[in-house]
Symmetry: C2
Subunit: 241 residues, 2 copies
């Protein structure tokens, strides 16, 4: 019934490799999950795939695991970024979680002109949500969560060769079919709940790398829109094909 | 800046029609939103579209609105049902909210053999979440939320002519392309987080109306899976085309 505990570590994984645990990791494995020496967990590190590892030392302040066998190779998500404007705390955490489950390779919180709650977001917590989501969803890769950046600056410094699909309630009624130019490398920008400012809209409408996509006739919350846009893209160009 | 307050009422809407308010509605409009006589709100009732209505009486225990003009016709969602097994309280509310935003016509909580939290779900609250989501997303229709029913019974009494798309982590690796037989009338069944029981799986695999669909190589939480499945369907057959 109980499936193996999955744990992300920042440490190389390989046959016979020993992996020291931090105090927090030891607390989680031995205090919360009640594991003990001899138990086996699954480790991921975004590099070496998924490995079985046995508990060889279990303490209150730390512990040691030793890797036995690789159980899955590294599976990188497609080269897709998700840009979104942070919203209320709980929903921002949801967007990060969903981005990981849906297979975004990089998560970029952006501050649009009308973003109100940016200063209330603990950015360090967002990376922890990404780790937790990867542990939960069976992924072997944890996408990095960037520091908050101004949307205007991100657009002004946009890398050559990467297209941007932006989802905007102003586009309701257009088709949800994705143009082939949006194949990887690509990025998705979820419109902030307050809408884009006139300057941002102007930048998006004139940038040759940006393409508006409709997400249907109803207004979606940002977390719903993120999953919907990632679904459209993964089915058309990503690893759901 | 502030957009009009939208309110769902169980009352006919039409030119010159007066609409009495319940105590809760009066509290929301006049206590929470601070509206007063002369202010205009948007009303929906799942039948008559969206109407502007002016406050003509505002009291602590009730009030009266009078409809002036229709601002949008009724837009029914496609004939698509969403079936899901209730999960933790907050996430169940999210699934209902997302189903409304994404345009499901009927929401059916089902109790699978491995559903654990069914008895902790307040079913009356779920309908209230659907109303709130319709008010928020600009919709003119509030899908009914059925009472909880046993999945086995729902499948045994399945209506002729309606196909069922079921999303199951056991299907990872299959294509996410939807067969054309899934056009409306259709239903989506989100696999419960504990998985289907052997008897349920057997029913789904042998029923001629049921079709398995993959939602990619990662394991999605039920609320993520609901949005993803609704996206695939709306783009292929629904009102996102």
């Amino acid at each position: 019934m109980a499936s193996k505990v999955r744990l992300y570590v920042e440490h190389p994984l390989g046959e016979g490799q020993s992996v020291p645990l931090s105090r927090e990791q030891a607390h989680y494995l031995f205090g919360v999950m009640r594991l003990a020496a001899g138990d086996v967990v699954s480790l991921i590190n975004s590099v070496d795939g998924e490995w079985d590892a046995e508990v060889v030392e279990a303490g209150k302040k730390g512990g040691v695991l030793v890797c036995s066998a690789q159980t899955a190779p590294l599976q990188m998500p497609p080269d897709l970024w998700l840009l979104f404007a942070p919203i209320r705390k709980e929903r921002t955490a949801f967007i990060v979680e969903k981005a990981v489950e849906m297979g975004a390779a990089r998560i970029m919180p952006v501050q649009s002109a009308y973003t109100q709650s940016a200063n209330r977001i603990r950015m360090d917590k967002l990376q922890a949500h990404a780790v937790e989501a990867a542990e939960q969803c069976g992924g072997t890769y944890v996408p990095p969560v960037d520091d908050l950046a101004k949307l205007e600056r991100v657009l002004a410094e946009w890398p050559a060769g990467r297209h941007l699909m932006f989802c905007d309630e102003g586009m309701a009624g257009r088709s949800a079919a994705l143009p082939s130019v949006l194949a990887a490398p690509c990025a998705i920008l979820i419109g902030p709940e307050g809408g884009f400012s006139p300057a941002e809209r102007e930048m998006l409408q004139t940038a040759t790398f940006a393409h508006a996509v409709s997400l249907g006739p109803r207004i979606l919350r940002a977390d719903t829109a993120a999953v919907a846009a990632l679904t459209l893209w993964q089915q058309a160009f990503g690893d759901w094909q």
